[in-house]
Structures are given as structure tokens and as C-alpha cells.
Symmetry: C2
Subunit: 434 residues, 2 copies
């Protein structure tokens, strides 16, 4: 029986990491599989500047991806070019050619993954996407197979390394958001245009895919309520600490009555929860199952080698299927026929809330605010005020008891109009049940 | 095509949890698989006292496991009776009858797992054991497939919930070991004979299986150096905290030159590491990969439902194989042909160490001890002494720089003979690189 063969389209960071692992770890991979996994072809638009690692053996180099998808000697095509147009042609071409596909493309899989999986099923090949979300964490394998026997109730994720790095720098050093962001940009940890990271859009795409895996329904990213971290400052961490909490940008998906509550936004979490220990550019996913209770998964969110591990692990799984004559076993979405999510309005979700205000101080402020909250049926849990000398810009916090979000939003709209506010309120749910 | 069918031998805690999940979650399991997983037979020595959950449909009940392994209508046999004699006959009988097997039996799989896997291979059936170690954590799926593309350098595990509960109670409340153990026994968290938990033997069996999966070599538990937690007290946590550390019972497996360093023993770990957040009866595994860097997995170590999730997840994987006509794809040990571990002597392993003494105080003690350490080529890093009034039983700590363990052991032997010692020294490695 011959070895199982691979063609890689796209030799950027992840492609380079994947080739490095396949070259350096060839012997260990063979020991695991019982046969060899060989790279037969690589493709990149600009091929001259790419140096390949030693030890890969003889292979075809091309700038035309069709030479890979049409190569009869290639069993599995790896799509690592990103984007949603050419990448889609590559994957469709590979499936049409009867080849299984591994991809790291979260946008494309979020947009068209279920359709591509159905094409793969019809053609009798496999489609795998472990590398598409949380590169270094095998969270697809976990949700799709490792805890397939459970029924997920809630999933929380710290899904964006850049924003977690920024938040935990503010937490550790009390530095202002803008300063930390600037430093992160200088060091190359944040993009010149940081919006995708700090406004939550990257985390939102990832949450959509994870929710598909956890609940068997596809979710479109724009249907997920998304707030970023631009307004979180050292003062919020100081107040959070008073409450034995810290702050993380959480992607959250939870079963509600007839659908899912979905959001990406900063939230207070207890310092005692294991999620609070996720610092720097790491990613993590916390799952609460109906039967298995709490499990937690942590690792690098990105990087050529951690993401390369995800690609190679998918390749090994698909290689076994091909070698033993039987691809097309398990949906990359965990469920054989994913449905479409019923997204529930967050307004119905009940949570305690953290409300932080900055005011020009004068007597009667607390009384007036408490009055507004009371009129909206909201019970105040505590009023917190750390020592401060700047009476023209005085921060303080009101925490409120568990309340439907609709009431909190209406009260916040009214509170935002108060003339002594120096800036709009900062509001975050408190996720205590972790 | 007919449904895939299951026979369960052993209706204790895990068997009960497994049946509960299969009954309550039947619809969700079918949505994931695309076909049904049906319980066809159950077996227990004492059948009358077992009430089965509703919704399982028609099934055979028997007190003779041979009726399950011989049942032509059963595709997969689940062995949940434990022990190594009858359980082995059940598994061998099932394999001989051409049935795939799911087991939760860590003793048997540690003792005879590779041989059973070879029999399964020869017969063209599968063998799965996710439930055998860290019930609630899908660590087998992770090591065998999720991060199969990585090459594990080091694996640390908090593998025994009872001992972790005891240590974290001492940590939280400063209570003495014996008091916490008594309370744990009263609450049913610890056995009347607690040795397997607190002396590290349970963790040792688990580490042996995890090391097989991570490194592709079988390890016999008695070849693993094992120390328990009986001598760890509040004073050790107080000193550890001075060093920004805490204490956990760690199973440790790491690649060395030509083999593996293996141990189960209490160790100091930094408070900043995510492992330090593992409290109570939880289990956790931390993996450092050559390519994927740090990943971390956390969940319930035991319990009927968390362990039932592991059994059901294995059943779903094997059911897909059977349904699509192709079992026998992946070794439960991750490697197609596991070798035998070369266990390296820990004496060669270099670590910084924590040495805690209790003495009848008099002048010159530190000087004499430091002299002994110096003669063994050991550099003192710090001497720590918290305020204490009891000069007849004065605890203090010496930390030493990274030193081969052989030298530390020789020095400890000499130090233990000093007449002013009230009790033998307590020594622990400091695992800083987490």
C-alpha cells in the first residue's frame, strides 16, 4: 500500500509551520500512523522567496493551485491561502477531484462550511478545519469527538489573543488602554488597524464556528451581539478586584428556551475561576456540559507552529481514513446535519451587571441614579467608590442584581442622559457561575 | 442499515451514568451520528437491585457476561466491571467474538492494554479507553488525535482528585493534613484506606497510561518514582506562598536523553501558572509540545456522569467506524506499535529544590546545613524563616539552585542524621518552567 500524500496550497505562516512539522517530525508521525505522510506538491503565488525545510523528499512546486487539486498523486489538499474567493475555488476543486481537504480558513468555513461539507459527503471525501479556530487548542477534536457524548449547555471562550494581551497588561500594570494598545502595535502584537481584534469581530467569527460544533446549528457572525474592549480601563480592573473579579473579553454561547444566547463582550469573572488565569496572548475555551460538568481547554491561539500542529493532526486523521479505505465519517461540525441557529434576543437574558460611571461630583447623584434604576425594576446590589481626589471626574460603580438585559439597557439609556456624566457609562455583565 | 448496538457489562456507578446519558441524550446522539446508538443488552452479577432509566427500549438483561459477548445483535461491548481477571475475560471474549470494546479499566489497560489492542487489530475490531484516566477530560482524544501532529516534550498532571482536594483545603484554610483527611473521609471524598489516593498510587497508574499515549511507549506503574502528600502541611503552603508558589501532587513525564523521566510527587509550582488554579477534586493535564507549545486540559476526574460522557464519546466514535464499515483504525495508545519505555533515573534530573526542616533551635544550624549542602556541590538559593515562637519545633526552608537529584538525595541523607532535627526533612522539586 502506498503512503498517503499531501498537497499544500499557500506557503505563508501556517503553511511554513505545517511543512516544518511534517519535515522535522516525519519519523514520529510515521510511528503514530504506521505508514508515511508525504508532501507531494506545494503551491504559492510567489514561489521563489519560499525556502522549504530539508527532508521533505521529492515534490512538485507550482504557482497554479489547479496543478495540486488535479494531481492524481495527491490524496489530501491543504488550503492555507485564506480569504473566501480563491480559497473556495481551491476547496471546491479539490472535492470535485475526489480529494479530502484540510483548511485553516475560519471566514470561509463560517460562510460556506456546511455546503462544502455536503459536497464532500456527496463525493465521499472528508473536510477538516481544526486549525480554523484557536490554532493551538484541539477544540474541534474535543467538541466533535472527545466530549461528543455530552450535551453542551454553555460555552465561554477567550478567543482573541491580542485583546486578552491588552486586558491582562492593563490588569497587571494599571496602564491605560491607549498606551497598552500603542505598545502592542509597536511590538507587532496588534495590527495597525486593530479593530478586528479589539472590537471583537475576530472573536465573533470564532464563536460562530464553535457554537456550530457545540450545538449543531450554524450561526452567522453578524447575528452575534458584539462589544469590544476600547472603553475598559485600569479603573475597571480596580473595581473588579474589589469584587474578587477580573475582566476578560468573553465569547459566550448558551442554550436558552428554543435557541441560543450569543455574545462577544467584556465581562466580569471571578478571580477564583480557572478562566481568570488566562493571561497574555493565550486562548481558552470553557464548556459546561449537561452530563460532564465543567471542562476547560487552553493553549496558543495562533502562531505558525501551534496552528501547524492543528493542520498536521487533521492530516493524520484524514490519512488514516484514506489508508483504511473509508473517508467521510465525521462532519467537521460534529453533527451529521447541522441546522440553523435560533438566536435569542439578549434582552431576555438575566444577569447581574456592573455599571461604571464618571461624574462631576455633587450631592444627590447616587440617589437620582438609584431612583432611575428602581423605576426600571432593577435592584442595586452595591455602590463602590474607591478613593479619588478628582471631583470633576469621579469614577464609581453600581452593581445590580440579576435582571433581564432589556431593563438594564433601558435604564442605561436614561442614565446616559444625565448631565453630570463626564462620559457614557461602561456596562458589563457579571458571569458568576464559572 | 441497522442501528449500532451496545452491550454493557457492569452496572455500577459508571454503568449507571452511561445508561442515563444514552437514555436522556438519545436524540442528540442520533443528530450527531446520523443514526441511532441502541443498548441491546446489560449485564450485572446482581441484576434485581438495578433500575434502568426509561427510554432505552427493549433489551436483554442477564447476569452472565457471556450472553453479552456472544450476542450476535451486539456490535460494541462496554466493560465496566473493573479489576483485572473477569474484566480481561470479558474483553478477550468480546474481541474473539468480533466485537469492538470500550473500557474504563485503567489497571487492566496498563497491565495488558497493548496485548489486547494487538488482539483487536488481528480480529479487525477496535478498542477504546477514554474513560480509564481523568474521566471528565477527553485527554485520550486530545493526545491520540487532537494534538497528534505535535511531539510531546513534557506532560504534567494533577491526576488524583482526592489528594488535590486535601492539598487545596490545606492551602485555603491552613488546616493540618490529618484533620483535612479525616473530614474528607467523613464526607466520603476519601476512602477509609486512603493510601491509593494520598500516597500517589492512583495517580501513578494514570500517569503510566498517559505517558504511553504521549510518548508511544508502555510504562509499568512500579517503574515510576512515587511520593505522596502525607507530610505536606500548612507550613509548606506558607513558605511556598513566600516564593509566589503553591503545592500540587504532580504526575510528571518528560523526555530526557534516550528515555523518560517519570515521577509522581508533590512539587512547588508558580502561583501564576494555570495549573495553580486547579482546586478541589478536579483533574488537569498540562502538555508542553515541541511545536504547539503549552496546552492545558481540565475537568472532573471521576463521577458517574463525567466518566459516562467518556464512555459514550468512545461509543460514538466506534459506532461511526462500524457503521461505515471500517473499525480498527487508531490505536488506543496513539502509536500504531507502542514500544517499551526506557525509564531514566531521576537522579540525573536537574531541578531547584525546596527543603523544609523542623529543628530544636540553637546557634550554628544554618551554617552547618549550608556547609553540608556545599560539600555536595549544592548552591543555596535562599533561606526562609517565617516568624515562630516555638524554638523547640522551628520550621524553616532552604531553597537550592538547580542541581542533579542524586546530589540532593545524598545531601538529604546526611542532613537527616542531624540530631537537632525534630522530624525528617520535607523535600520537593520546584517546577518553575510552567
Amino acid at each position: 500500500m502506498r503512503d498517503v500524500t499531501v498537497g499544500i496550497v499557500g506557503l505563508g505562516n501556517i503553511g511554513g509551520g505545517t511543512l516544518e512539522i511534517l519535515a522535522k517530525s516525519a519519523e514520529e508521525i510515521s510511528r503514530k500512523l504506521g505508514f508515511r505522510l508525504m508532501v507531494r506538491a506545494v503551491c504559492d503565488r510567489i514561489l521563489e522567496s519560499k525556502t522549504l525545510p530539508d527532508g521533505l523528499g521529492e515534490l512538485r512546486r507550482t504557482t497554479d493551485w489547479r496543478e495540486v487539486t488535479a494531481d492524481p498523486e495527491v490524496d489530501i489538499v491543504v488550503e492555507l491561502i485564506g480569504g473566501t474567493s480563491v480559497a473556495r475555488e481551491v476547496i471546491e476543486g479539490a472535492i470535485a477531484g475526489g480529494k479530502s481537504v484540510v483548511t485553516a480558513n475560519k471566514e470561509l468555513m463560517g460562510l460556506a462550511g456546511v455546503g462544502l461539507w455536503r459536497s464532500a459527503q456527496a463525493r465521499g471525501v472528508s473536510l477538516a478545519m481544526e486549525a480554523s479556530v484557536c490554532g493551538g487548542i484541539p477544540i474541534h477534536a474535543v467538541l466533535r469527538e472527545g466530549i461528543a457524548g455530552d450535551s453542551v449547555d454553555t460555552l465561554f471562550g477567550i478567543l482573541n489573543g491580542t485583546s486578552n494581551y491588552i486586558l491582562t497588561e492593563i490588569e497587571a500594570h494599571g496602564t491605560d488602554f491607549a498606551v497598552v494598545l500603542g505598545e502592542a502595535q509597536r511590538l507587532g502584537y496588534a495590527e495597525a488597524d486593530p479593530s478586528a481584534d479589539i472590537d471583537g469581530y475576530d472573536a465573533r467569527s470564532k464563536l460562530a464556528l464553535l457554537a456550530s460544533l457545540a450545538f449543531g446549528v450554524t450561526v452567522t457572525p453578524p447575528s452575534i451581539h458584539t462589544d469590544g474592549i476600547r472603553r475598559i480601563g485600569p479603573v475597571d480592573f480596580a473595581y473588579a478586584r474589589q469584587m474578587d473579579c477580573t475582566i476578560r473579553l468573553l465569547g459566550s454561547a448558551r442554550r436558552g428556551d428554543g435557541g441560543l444566547f450569543l455574545s462577544v463582550r467584556p465581562a466580569l469573572i471571578p478571580l477564583s475561576t480557572i478562566l481568570a488565569g488566562v493571561r497574555g496572548s493565550y486562548n481558552a475555551v470553557w464548556v459546561k456540559g449537561r452530563f460532564g460538568q465543567d471542562t476547560f481547554y487552553y493553549g496558543r491561539g495562533a502562531g505558525p507552529l501551534p496552528t501547524g500542529v492543528a493542520v498536521v493532526s487533521d492530516l493524520m486523521r484524514l490519512a488514516r481514513e484514506i489508508r483504511y479505505g473509508n473517508p467521510n465519517r465525521v462532519s467537521p461540525f460534529g453533527y451529521s446535519e447541522p441546522g440553523v441557529a435560533e438566536v435569542l434576543p439578549l434582552e431576555r437574558q438575566q444577569r447581574p451587571w456592573y455599571l461604571r460611571f464618571c461624574v462631576k461630583d455633587r450631592p444627590g447623584i447616587i440617589a437620582e441614579m438609584a431612583g432611575i434604576l428602581a423605576r426600571h425594576g432593577i435592584s442595586v446590589d452595591a455602590v463602590l467608590q474607591l478613593p479619588s481626589s478628582d471631583k470633576q471626574n469621579l469614577p464609581f460603580v453600581i452593581t445590580v442584581e440579576s435582571t433581564p438585559e432589556a431593563q438594564v439597557r433601558k435604564a442605561l439609556a436614561e442614565l446616559s442622559a444625565l448631565t453630570y456624566l463626564v462620559e457614557p457609562p461602561v456596562s458589563m455583565p457579571i458571569e458568576g457561575g464559572l
